[in-house]
Amino acid sequence: MSDSKKKIMIIEDNKDLQEIYKHSFEKYGYEAIVEGNGLEGIDAIVKNLPDIVLLDLMMPGMDGFGFLKKVKDIGGLSIPVIVCSNISDVDTINRALRDGAEDVILKVDYSGKQLVDKVNFIVDEYNRKKGVQLSSI
């Protein structure tokens, strides 16, 4: 069991959603880092090494797909990336999963504790698959 807080990086360009997500995750025990687009996210992921990334897709500058590609190019980063977008078409979901996203969730379906629970569930599944000992926050 670890006492340290889990670190989540939220990559989201909408200022309101940045505030809402940061608030929700911090309320339920996370340390939240917020970045405004994929490019900022890439700089910050190497610097901060978060436990989880919550990634929007449509963003100015580098979008979510650009971020996923960069993460893949860097290699060696064993960090689950959860795509959280309001785009629901199958092609986009498939592409995100193919490009390395751990899971894809529809933004509008989750708020507050539901979102945190969903992220926890995905991360637990990821850790279970990786054979990593689960540690609660």
């Binding site: 199958v90 708020s111 504790k113």
Partner: protein, 522 residues
Amino acid sequence: MDFSFFDKIQFDLVGVIVAVVGVLILAWTVLYRSRNSITSRSFLFFSYVTILWGISNYFLYKFTDPADALLALRFHIFLSIWHAYAFFQLAYVFPNEKKELPPWHRYVLLPLAFFSSTLLLIPFVFREFSNFISPDEAISPEKSQGIILAGFVTLSFFIAGIIVLFRRIGQTKGDERRQVMLMFTGMSLTAGLLLLFSFILPIGFRNFDFVPYGALFIFPVIVFTAYAIYIVELLHVKNIFAGLFTFFLCIVSLIELILAETIEQLLLRIIVFLLTIIIGIQLVRNTFEIELANEQKSELMSFATHEIRTPITVMRGYATMLLDGDKGMVSSPVKDLLQKIMIAGNDVTTLLAEYLDKSKIELGQMEYIPTKFDVAHTIDEILAIFQVHAEQKGITLTESVGNDHKYMIYADQAKLKEVIINIIDNSIKYTPEGGVIVSVMSKDGFIIIKVADTGVGIEQDVMSSLFKEFSRADLQKVNILGSGLGLFLAKKFTEAQKGKIWVESEGKDKGSQFYIKFPEVK
């Protein structure tokens, strides 16, 4: 050429015409899919030159007079240079939608192709054959510097194209790499066929039977490249069908034409053949235009949905913060109002999702991503959303799921979630008092989800139309608003994934039970 030419089926001629028609249809269908793409335009150019080259290759061996044959050979070598140039240009831009050709292309390669090919047309370069024996024999021009130049230029363009493609295989990833690999495979097949039938057999074994089929040997590179371009442009079954149907009609009318026994029949069948090509191309064009319009409609729907969902997400996010008391204590009446904001937000997103789904079903674009998952967990998530809703209405919402069992099914989790949400949402809406019980059971190799309520019930005459579009049971009495698409979509989603959905009710005011059934997976 006398009329006896048509007395019997000339298989080499049929082969060439099949290739010409096929290449023409493929080139135009590719262009209609993406008119402004440099790859499509280069592909069209390559296809046109291929057609001319194939025809010239066929006629090269049909002339009995050496002077005519010499002229045909000059024209053929002229086309060979442009053929290799068109291949290089296609390889250079492939598979990009937009790519600027560099200045050296315009100021060096294009003039080189132009001057070297034009030189070949005049007698200055070569004047006679080194071996004109008889028709249907291999012919080659006397060896001269002009011929060496033509060979050098043609081979250079061809090899450069191959090198460009080969390098691109290493530089690309994913779908783009697949496209380049496909074109490379097509090119290798074509090169292999040409090498075997146009060089090894004629030169090594004095077998010239297959030389006139040259146009057919180009077919692999055309087909593979067209398919590779289509991968990006999303090939649809309707488009393939229209293309194949047109191709089939053209071939049938062509055979009819060749079998003509009188000049009148021949003229009539030529008209039929030409009309078939024109109407066929128009058919393919229309199919693509309809497909394009459908795609634009779908894209517009997706974009609008995304744009509307974002402010609703924000609205629900802030409402949740207030409801949870994160910004200070909230009075009960304010909480009620916030709940109403949440419910209104849910209704808008549900309506949007339902219209988007209906549009996708109508356009045949609905796709499913099946995964193996535990239905009980999905139901936990859904009930967490609806618990407050039910409490506010003054009814109970309970779950009856055994914890000692995993209820694994193989389906599209998001779609099934929509189905269950819809059923529970309906049950809550149509239950003025009492409650809703959601249970999951494993029975005879199936997982059954049951949503039972003590609501308004369903009368027998309504039951049969309940899962149809815009059908709502007894709406006026319970003052319910909705798209009327929920159950229609629930049935479509469930059945598309080999599941079953049905409803049972003993009648008015006796509640209802909805069932969703999927095969259990281990």
